[in-house]
Symmetry: C2
Subunit: 130 residues, 2 copies
């Protein structure tokens, strides 16, 4: 599957994607390149914070950037991120649906929480997610 030497790098990429603010930035870039200020306007974060997230995305090779006069345009460098988000999104929805489906009628029979018996403690936070 993953060459041992790649594991750390692949994990790092997942980690970079594992930040809500950075996912929102990538969404903001889905329509095309945008300046830092535009992104700051789209999201409601402060400029230094967005800049730092952009630097992290850039280092990971997920976005590219180009200066134009006084502004810097960022853009998505590898569209695979959208594919990834789509897959994870669907998978997450499946999981949430699965939790809700079984949450009602299960009891805790043995010590270890199997998938079904573990549901009840998590579903609460998932209501209305889809």
């Amino acid at each position: 599957m993953i060459h041992e030497k790649m594991v750390e790098l692949v994990a790092r990429r997942f980690q970079v994607l594992g930040e809500p603010c950075r996912l929102r930035i990538l969404q903001a870039l889905q329509g095309g390149p945008r300046t830092v200020n535009e992104i700051v306007g789209d999201l409601d974060g402060n400029q230094p914070n967005i800049s730092k997230h952009l630097q992290i995305l850039f280092d990971a090779g997920l976005v590219g950037r180009e200066r134009s006069g006084n502004s810097v345009f960022y853009s998505v460098a590898d569209p695979v991120v959208f594919k990834l988000c789509e897959l994870v999104c669907r998978s997450t929805a499946r999981h949430a649906a699965h939790l809700q489906q079984y949450a009602a009628g299960t009891r805790r029979r043995s010590g270890i929480q199997t998938h079904k018996s573990h549901l009840r403690s998590k579903v609460g936070s998932l209501q209305g997610v889809n």
Copy 2:
């Protein structure tokens, strides 16, 4: 792209995948269900640590588990993880190749580090990765 209510959940999933040890666990499960002890043997971590990572994977819905006698078998719950790893792996390899390709003949002309001028500081850690 991602519904706003989903962003946090999707990010959490990426984050769960963004840990080398957990990726290795998923790899160990690629051939089929395995007990905790078997996984501990495959990787070289200690048992409590592996158990905690397994719990995190379980909570994220990425693995399932089933007790059999005294042992607990874990298995991959959603094969999408392999697709994700494959995509990220390829993307990472592309990025690494891109870094190496341009690393040699670039100079720093302006203050902002564009993709090419930023390469030199990163390529060192990527030698021999593919």
